[in-house]
Subunit: 257 residues, 2 copies
């Protein structure tokens, strides 16, 4: 199997955008960018000097790699209308089994364990890539590509990867939502949210040095029901956040009793 | 009112330990360290060349500041048996109103908005101190002390401070518990938890650049019910974490619909 030097992207969202720019910067060619919304494909294609296509049938058939960077729930539907190609077809989904791509000759997974947002640069070299392939050759090709982009590349099977994806949702999506809750509360009380930044930094710094079960502090950890009650009173003003607060407090009290 | 140069600590836990060492390092004298568990007082007193006492009656009466660094729920009971002194009496609690100390002549709040753990050094200069006092003199004295220790000092009243404390619980205690959930899952599946570190770092890095409502990504943000269902299936093995996962997903879906 050839080294991967030409790549087409199926999808033009955050993941596709960050990856396409990274492979382009690493010296590879981006051939096509497909999106059902042709305008979105145009934008990304413009950034990486590729061709934008609005239907799967228009994809050139000679790319070394077709990278499906689409929402998890779209991987299967897209594959159903995907024409068989000789190049490697890989998806970037954490939760989708590799075998979803089994109609292809060469297929695999190229999962960047990271959160990507518009308007926020991400240092791809620090992103762990989780690789899987339907043959040692595919694993090798995808690993070589990932090693070109990043310092950390792991071979992870579909079963492990889905738990990793679940864990990622907890530490990123749900942590970010806790930030949102806290910011909403300070906004409502006319306080500067930057007051919280050193605490947020320390919470992150701690987990580099100690296990989270040891790092746990706070009223629930101390079973300080009086403080928890006071917080619940304050949350009368933020009823949408009361249930999450309560459930965390209950769970932590239970874990540490 | 004199500048604060001698301080006695009521309490010998994480907050007292970190603060006592910081004021000592900044050139102040730590006079007494009180703990109901005399042995705990001995340990901290040994570290900062202070006297350890096991009853409040033994406290020397001539300290410039008495700092109550005890669990929130103990502040009031301690104050009931505290003899009136001429020095400033301040507590370090986020949730306790300043007026809990109203039997003293000079009183206030000296709240470090940070999480402290045994075995993890904390850079006190980066800790925001929230100050309140029953007179401009007390505010000045406590602010001067805080400025000696830290780059960031705020005057925050009791009403604002309790919301700040609630927000702190969300971004630290509950975020840390999400880390624990994720680590538990990877442990159970024999995966290296360091895989998650770049994602945890990026989650923190994002909030320095963008508001959390904009930084939100993930299946719930995209209303990807299929992925959420798959996660819930995985969580059958971790039933204690299922309810929190579900509630977060529901709330985020609702917020972004």
């Amino acid at each position: 199997m050839n080294q991967i030097s030409t790549i087409s992207f199926i999808g033009s969202g955050n993941v596709a955008t960050h990856l396409a720019q990274a492979v382009k910067a690493a010296g590879m060619e981006v051939k096509d960018v497909f999106s059902l919304h042709k305008k979105h494909a145009d934008i990304l294609a413009g950034k990486v000097e590729a061709r934008a296509v609005g239907s799967l049938a228009e994809l050139q058939r000679d790319a070394d790699l077709y990278l499906l960077a689409v929402p998890d729930k779209i991987v299967e539907p897209v594959m159903r209308s995907f024409l068989r190609v000789e190049g490697v077809v890989a998806h970037t989904s954490g939760i989708t089994p590799m075998e979803t791509l089994h109609n292809m000759s060469h297929y695999g997974v190229f999962y960047p364990l990271q959160t990507f947002s518009k308007g926020k640069d991400t240092d791809i070299s620090k992103v762990p890539f989780c690789i899987e392939g339907n043959s040692p050759d595919v694993v090798q090709s995808l690993s070589d590509l990932a090693t070109n982009l990043s310092d950390t590349v792991y071979e992870i099977n579909s079963d492990q990867r889905k738990y990793l994806h679940l864990a990622a949702v907890l530490v990123n999506n749900y942590t970010n939502y806790l930030y949102r809750m806290a910011f909403d509360i300070l906004d409502a009380k006319q306080m500067d949210t930057s007051l919280l930044m050193p605490l947020i930094e320390e919470t992150y710094a701690k987990i580099r040095e100690m296990r989270p079960d040891k790092a746990q502090t706070g009223p629930a950890r101390r079973k300080d029901l009086l403080t928890i009650e006071k917080h619940l009173l304050l949350l009368e003003e933020f009823p949408q956040y009361k249930e999450l607060y309560t459930l965390f407090a209950e769970q932590i009290i239970k874990k540490y009793s």
